[in-house]
Amino acid sequence: MADLKVNFAGIPMKNPVASASGTFGFGFEYQSVISPHELGALVVKGLTLSPKRGNQGTRLHETASGLLNSIGLENPGIDNFINEILPDLRQCDATTLINISGGNDEEYVEITQKLNNCQGIAGLEVNISCPNIREGGLVYGVDPELTYRLVSKVRQSTSFPVIVKLSPNVTDITEIAKACERAGADGLSLINTVAGMAIDIDQKEPVFDNISAGLSGPAIKPIALKAVYQVSQAVDLPVMGMGGIYNYQDAIEFILAGATSVALGTVNFAEPTAAKSIIQGIDNYLEREGYLSVNDIRGLAWK
């Protein structure tokens, strides 16, 4: 058995495979088939300051090897999370990352401050890339200035590792990554969903009330892989790679592209035990190829 442990942005992970935010609930939903502590890290559903109902209308639409979603960050709000959910999560003994979103800088900072006093949190994932909400979200993710300002403020308000989650919906993702690095981020996670849409040809209108939605799943893997390959070479920050990982071969591609850890999103819906078989597959690959540690293959595909 190879050594699967990685240190991601100061967070020790027992293996490099995390769950992607919004696709694994708060970790309990899949407990019938996999315990959160089997994961390298559990990244919880995106949280906001106040509870959010999320978007109206259709929220899901399957596309070719992909999924469009327009959940709109439905969540119980940070206080409810801290009081009702986090205590149970602590019992699971999982490495827990808290994904946070806000409508403006102050909201992000306020959420961060609320989390500062909590036990059982390994780090923060700052979502600046949600395409499904009107304010905040993607507005930050496409602007290096705004990103720099926001990340600096979050950085200054906590001692937790700060991971910033990037959007692929930009001309040059490395610019945003560099802004995060300058602002003191400890790591990056990428990619969030790709902006897309669908039309109902019977109703002759967009499937989603918001028109645009976020594309995830195997369809976007080539896009995500390129982003990880570029960003991991452009900055000195560790990267959690995600976007379309479907089997262990995909996970290996991301690690060879420079990712320190990977996250599984949409695949959980199709294969709820994917994390297990991907962890096993990475292990087998390392043995087969004669590597002692997963750290030894990171970035091997760099040119």
């Binding site: 919004g22 696709t23 694994f24 609930g25 939903e29 899949y30 019938s32 088939v33 559903k45 109902r53 999320g54 109206q56 259709t58 929220r59 899901l60 639409h61 399957e62 070719a64 090897s65 992909g66 999924l67 979603n69 959940i71 439905e74 799943g217 195997p218 369809a219 479907y246 089997n247 949409t266 695949v267 959980n268 819906f269 199709a270 294969e271 709820p272 035990t273 994917a274 078989s277 597959g281």
Partner: protein
């Protein structure tokens, strides 16, 4: 508690235009599933010979398809589903041969959970009859003499009632849109008539079918002071409460319900129906 089980199709047949009955060997799920619950089926799995595992080598269609349990035979470790071909997922499913292996998650969701001895009128529209068979079977075997009012588009769908006719103690009434069998008209008209004579003799209405139909059923039952249980369909990704995609607006307008974990069976006054 649910399982992700690798099943094997043991029987597959077309019973009406676009409607199929499939039996799948699923020892774990079939012994733990209840009426009204559902399974989430990968319609297009493929065995990865190189890795010797049932693995992820085809990614389209990506999502599983939610289908209610139609019947179970726990001794055989077998579960059956009755489904209608409406899009590509169900089309692919319909082309799977006996012997094919399929990954199935279940049991999922909250089923009907009726008390023993309850007197129930079941009202179905089209393929909405599927989730009602296992319930009818239980009710009939408890000697509850359930009433079934079934609506279909035409007589070619009447074969969906075959299994129901074989149950003892079932009272079956039938309506077709085109009048080719039974009452000529909507099943909700049947219900109206039924309630005017039998209202006192039943405790509850259970319904499944198009939302516009279920809405009428809720109206009629509410006017007759009868509680309603209904089973809704929503697009689903995970089936287990993780993606938050399968929302139903709650009647109190406070928050969304999620069909996969709060339902698919709801009280008639819990969720807003479209139509």
């Amino acid at each position: 508690m649910w399982y992700d089980e690798l099943g094997k199709i043991s029987y597959h047949t077309k019973i009406a235009p676009q409607i199929f009955l499939m039996k799948i060997k699923l020892p774990k799920i079939s012994t733990s599933i209840h009426p009204g619950q559902f399974v989430n089926i990968q319609v297009n799995g493929a065995y990865d010979q190189k890795e010797d595992s049932f693995a992820t080598i085809i990614s389209d269609p990506l999502l599983r398809r939610p289908i209610s349990v139609y019947d179970v035979c726990p001794q055989e470790g077998e579960l059956s589903i009755m489904y209608q071909v409406v899009g590509r997922g169900t089309q692919i499913l319909s082309s799977q041969a006996e012997g094919t292996r399929l990954k199935v998650m279940g049991p999922l969701g909250n089923g009907f959970s009726l008390d023993e001895g309850q007197k129930v009128a079941l009202v179905s529209g089209g393929i909405g009859i599927a989730p009602l068979y296992l319930l009818s079977k239980k009710l009939a075997s408890n000697n509850c003499q359930p009433h079934l009012l079934a609506g279909f588009s035409g007589e070619e769908q009447v074969r969906l009632l075959q299994d129901f006719h074989e149950l003892n103690n079932m009272n079956i009434k039938l309506a077709t849109d085109d009048g080719s069998a039974g009452y000529h008209g909507q099943v909700t008209d049947l219900l109206k008539n039924f309630l005017s004579s039998y209202q006192e003799q039943i405790d509850m209405v259970v319904t499944c079918g198009p939302e516009i139909m279920m809405k009428k059923v809720v109206d009629l039952a509410t006017r007759a002071n009868l509680p309603v249980k209904l089973s809704v369909e929503r697009k689903m990704a995970c089936g287990v409460g993780a993606c938050l995609g399968c929302t139903c607006e709650s009647v109190d307008n406070q928050s969304y319900k999620h069909a996969c974990i709060d339902g698919p069976v709801f009280w008639g006054n819990e969720v807003k129906l479209n139509g």
